[in-house]
């Protein structure tokens, strides 16, 4: 009996030792703790913080961390961190590369009380966790004026800015200029495609040259997040109308199967699917192999975004000229949405205020300021991503032909903000509905079943 008691005591001592070990940081170091309200998270009045914000040289060494969910850009960010640290001697930035699953890694960091000071996250993730985030304000961050206002909409909640957008991504039907030039017997002009019928004629011309006309990469993120996402985008109206439609889906009053916007996009979807290069096995979906087919002229057009430059740029024997076509939604030449492309600011820099000290938060702001305003950072970012940046002082030129195409649409005012607001589409929208879209593309269900499946998804979110 005594022996058992002794064992129990030992186990209790071990548990106490473990719990003490797991206690982590001193809460006094952190401005916010689990009892803090969101308001208290966003306030900062410490002298130390003021010093960092004012840019005065403090002797205190500050260590911050930067978590990015952009894959394949580790060299870029490590280079930028090195450059930043050269001019900010007292700040050390620990780089945390993207994990296999961006959310899992982020959540793990927070669970171990090691939330990254700066994180590059999707707007919906920042929105859903805004209570942990520090809001940017023009008093502390006068450089906020350098960011295009439109690009901030997906990161602004209740009038507070919680994220600074990274690159601007445009998407639609990418086209291979050489293939289309051969198809039309001259120089192809994207402005000639103003209707769905015109697109069909173009597809026929491409096919007559022995090249596949179009291509879907049969993966849930492309079909769910990007293609189906457009059904909830600008063609439906302004942000209020988009939110209103999503709400009507949740409460079951919307009739998606007979919805004109849904059917407009799905008619074009059927057209692309009919001419799909991957028609024989539509869900085999490999973005690298599809990029190779597109870049080497085996297919004329591809539903993707300008980020595809990352895949195309290194391909041997790739063509040199590319562009982006809008997804036409009707046969009406005067329909504005037949000529515009959606642009999205898919990721933004947010600053944690729940597990980082005030001085770390201010150092984090300096790092974000550097990423958004520094000429070298902008130049390197554009070169690596091949996409435009939403910063007014940016003079760096985009070398990517796809990025140039997006920039051209932006210059002409022929774009609309894909998101409009961060909380329009839930975080699992792409996964659940992407699966339904794949099912439809594979011909395993009809459009009515697809609409019913999507409607069921929304009702479960009510």
């Amino acid at each position: 009996m005594k022996k058992r008691m002794v064992n129990i005591v030992i186990i209790l001592v071990l548990i106490s030792a473990m719990l003490t070990g797991c206690a982590g940081k001193n809460n006094n170091e952190v401005t916010n703790n689990s009892n803090s309200s969101p308001e208290s998270v966003n306030s900062n009045s410490g002298n130390e913080a003021d010093e960092v914000a004012a840019g005065t040289d403090t002797e205190e060494a500050i260590e911050i961390s930067f978590y990015t969910t952009e894959t394949g850009k580790d060299d870029l960010f490590l280079d930028l961190i090195e450059h930043f640290e050269e001019t900010n001697k007292n700040i050390t930035v620990e780089y945390i590369a993207a994990g296999d699953d961006q959310l899992q890694k982020w959540m793990s960091l927070y669970a171990s009380n090691d939330g990254p000071t700066v994180a590059l996250m999707d707007p919906i993730n920042i929105f859903e966790n805004q209570e942990r985030m520090k809001a940017y304000n023009t008093t502390e961050c006068p450089w906020l004026d350098n960011v295009y206002e439109d690009s901030l909409s997906a990161f602004t909640y209740d009038g507070q800015v919680y994220g600074i957008p990274g690159t601007a991504a445009g998407f639609g039907l990418l086209y291979n200029q050489r293939v289309l030039d051969e198809a039309v017997g001259g120089t192809f002009d994207p402005a000639t495609i103003k209707t769905r019928s015109a697109l069909k004629e173009l597809f026929d011309k491409i096919e007559s040259t022995g090249v596949a006309a179009s291509m879907f990469t049969g993966v849930n993120w492309s079909l769910g997040a990007h293609y189906l996402g457009m059904v909830y985008g600008g063609y439906r109206g302004d942000v209020t109308e988009r939110v209103s439609f999503a709400e009507s889906e949740k409460n079951g009053t919307a009739d998606l199967a007979n919805d004109s916007v849904f059917n407009a996009y799905m008619d074009t979807f059927d057209l692309i699917a009919e001419y799909n290069y991957n028609k024989e096995d539509p869900l085999v979906g490999n973005v690298n192999i599809d990029a190779e087919a597109f870049a080497t002229g085996k297919v004329g057009t591809w539903f993707m975004g300008d980020w595809a430059w990352t895949y195309i740029a290194g391909i041997d024997g790739a063509d040199s000229e590319y562009g982006i076509l809008p997804i036409p939604v009707s046969d009406n030449e005067d329909d504005l949405f037949n000529t515009v492309i959606p642009t999205s600011y898919a990721k933004g820099y947010c600053i944690d205020a729940s597990q980082n000290t005030e001085s770390q938060q201010m150092a984090g702001q300096k790092f974000v300021e550097y990423l958004c305003t520094d000429a070298y950072a902008q130049q390197e970012m554009i070169a690596a991503c091949g996409q435009a940046l939403p910063y007014k002082n940016c003079t760096a030129t985009v070398e990517s032909k796809l990025g140039q195409a997006t920039a051209s649409y932006i210059e002409k005012g022929l774009t609309y903000d894909f998101y409009g607001t961060a909380d329009l589409l839930p975080s699992d929208f792409w996964y659940e509905n992407g699966a339904y879209m794949c099912e439809y593309l594979a011909g395993a269900c009809d459009r009515e079943t697809l609409a019913n499946n999507i409607a069921s998804y929304w009702k479960e979110r009510n």
């Binding site: 064992n7 071990l14 899992q104 982020w106 209570e131 729940s354 699992d428 339904y436 794949c438």
Partner: protein, 305 residues
């Protein structure tokens, strides 16, 4: 006299304390680190996980509300979760049977005295030391491109389109890869069992004129029952918890047709950001696996008696 008696009592007491202290020190020396690790990585996270099932935590939020057993009610009324469970049961049955049969046959082959059996053992075991994620990507390429290329060039319809884009074939592909990975591991356990079968018995059987199949059926299998119990137990546990191959080979596709239960839990917790429900699903899975595993061990032992 009383003085001596007290002195003796004190001495006995002192010895007992010394003995206890020695026991404690021995315990701390040998079992302490293991108990510490076990508590750190198993017991505490498990209890913490149970606590989460009664909350609406999304995995990140600061404010957490206690919501009672709502998450469990959601789990038991979720037809998608039930569907994932049925798919998992199907996957487990086939994977366990195929991997154990293959493992046993391989073990028989490499203990039969064939030339280069050491090399074969290493070769068959190798898939098990390749991580599930890597293995999934390798087989993804094989099913999607290598086999389809072969099928198209030879005109074999059956493999000219990817197995991973067909809901039924994709589950079969998952079973094949799992069996391929696990059979080498099970083979090692079966080899250990077969090596312990007394040679005299095998010689006696052959002198009595027993055929090879009769020796396997009447001598080897009854004598390696312990190995069979261990292998079936391990394969049930591993296949029920299967996640990495599911993620990298099919990612639940095509259109969620191969979404096994562990993958479903992952999606609920990390994509839907519904950590409370995801954790409740994990606890339910834990219960199911515990019951099935204990039942399997019980019936196997009962059969031996």
């Amino acid at each position: 006299m009383k003085y001596f008696s007290n002195n003796k009592e004190a001495s006995v007491k002192h010895n007992r304390i010394k003995k206890n202290l020695n026991s404690i020190l021995l315990f701390l020396l040998f079992a302490g680190p293991v108990v510490f690790i076990w508590f750190s990585v198993v017991i505490i996270p498990f209890l913490y996980g149970i606590g989460i099932t009664f909350t609406d935590w999304n995995g990140l939020s600061i404010n957490v509300n206690f919501i009672g057993v709502s998450n469990y009610i959601e789990v038991f009324t979720d037809s998608v979760f039930f569907g994932a469970f049925l798919k998992t049961v199907l996957y487990v049955i086939f994977s366990v049977i195929i991997s154990n049969l293959t493992g046993f046959l391989l073990a028989l082959a490499v203990t039969s005295g064939i030339k280069g059996q050491g090399l074969f053992r290493t070769g068959f075991f190798t898939p098990n030391i390749i991580g599930g994620i890597i293995l999934g990507y390798i087989w993804n390429f094989i099913f999607s491109y290598a086999l389809t290329g072969l099928g198209k060039s030879l005109g074999i319809d059956f493999i000219s389109t990817s197995w991973l884009t067909d809901p039924h074939k994709a589950l079969a592909a998952l079973i094949i890869v799992t069996a391929w990975q696990m059979s080498g591991y099970l083979m090692v356990i079966y080899i250990a069992g077969l090596s312990s079968v007394p040679k005299e018995l095998l010689e006696a059987a052959s002198i009595d004129g027993a055929s090879r199949w009769a020796v396997v059926k009447k001598v080897k299998i009854p004598l390696i029952r312990n190995s069979i119990t261990i292998c079936v137990f391990l394969s049930i546990i591993r296949t029920f918890m299967s996640f990495d191959v599911n993620l990298s080979l099919t990612a639940g596709g095509p259109y969620k047709s191969t979404e096994l239960i562990a993958y479903k839990i992952y999606q609920t917790a990390f994509t839907k950001m519904d950590f409370g429900v995801g954790q409740a699903q994990a606890i339910v899975l834990f219960g199911i696996v515990t019951v099935i595993s204990l039942a399997q061990v019980y019936f196997t032992r009962k059969g031996r008696e």
